[in-house]
Symmetry: C2
Subunit: 160 residues, 2 copies
């Protein structure tokens, strides 16, 4: 039994965790991301282009989703794998854009998503996985096995 | 005059900012990174492999260096460009692994490196550029035009 399938057992019955598919454009993927932040109007053509870019660099971009019993996307999460020189050409994972559909919150789907992406980072040989969050989400990520590592600094060129 | 050349004028006389080259393996690149953290023993073969991976994905990995008057690497910095779906298929930059050789500190090379990478991120169309640092480096990054954006969370699989 793989680590991924072990984790899968702790999802609510009928829910599944898998890689993003091209057909998720019309399967609530974009609507789920809108819970997190501004998404804007994404045409199917632009989604296809982005999906192609992610797929062509699948050793770097690993977007995932959770589906509910009806097969609809209800949670999103990106694992970005970075190859470094430090730590003997070590790799790290960046977790980005975690979102859970409003009507599906309270089922620990976010916890499952974050732990699953961290597990994938570990399997890929990363020595650590990092993410940035706001102060009020620190407790949530501590429950996912993370600890405070430092300060996120930002320089914005455009304010959404 | 490009933005990059404008910035270049503020480096000490004779110093230059450019992309990492394969020949920097034997030009103090690795020694400069050792100021930042554990690097370990990197063979030329392993460096070449990593350089090739970065070069083949040059739309994502943009490693840079500053050379002193003698043409020796004295500062390092990585800009990692990430294509997202949020914010109308927006891009962000991640700044990683900023280091300055000990004997070259106090010349604002780190400030120059960070501002240059941020400028490249803006030119690449990013809506923001982010980085993680320790509490005691917040002031340094504020001088580079950054502000505190959030909390870095980390899950370590291996402790260096």
């Amino acid at each position: 039994m793989t680590q991924e399938s072990t984790i899968q057992l702790s999802l609510p019955e009928g829910y599944t965790f898998r890689k993003l598919k091209l057909t998720d454009y019309s399967n609530n993927y974009i609507e789920t991301l809108k819970v997190l932040t501004t998404v804007g109007n994404i045409s199917e053509e632009n989604f296809n282009k982005l999906f192609q870019e992610w797929s062509q660099n699948s050793h770097i971009y690993q977007p995932h989703v959770i589906l509910n019993k009806e097969g609809v996307v209800v949670s999103t999460g990106m694992l970005l794998l970075e190859s470094k020189l430090i730590h003997e050409c070590g790799k790290i994972g960046h977790i980005e854009d975690i979102s859970v559909a409003k009507e599906e919150q309270g089922k620990k789907l976010g916890n499952y998503m974050v732990k699953s992406l961290a597990s994938l980072a570990e399997q890929a040989g990363c020595y650590k996985v990092i993410l940035d969050c706001s102060d009020h989400n620190v407790g949530f990520y501590e429950k996912c096995g993370f600890e405070v590592g430092g300060v996120e600094m930002v320089h914005r060129f455009f304010r959404y």
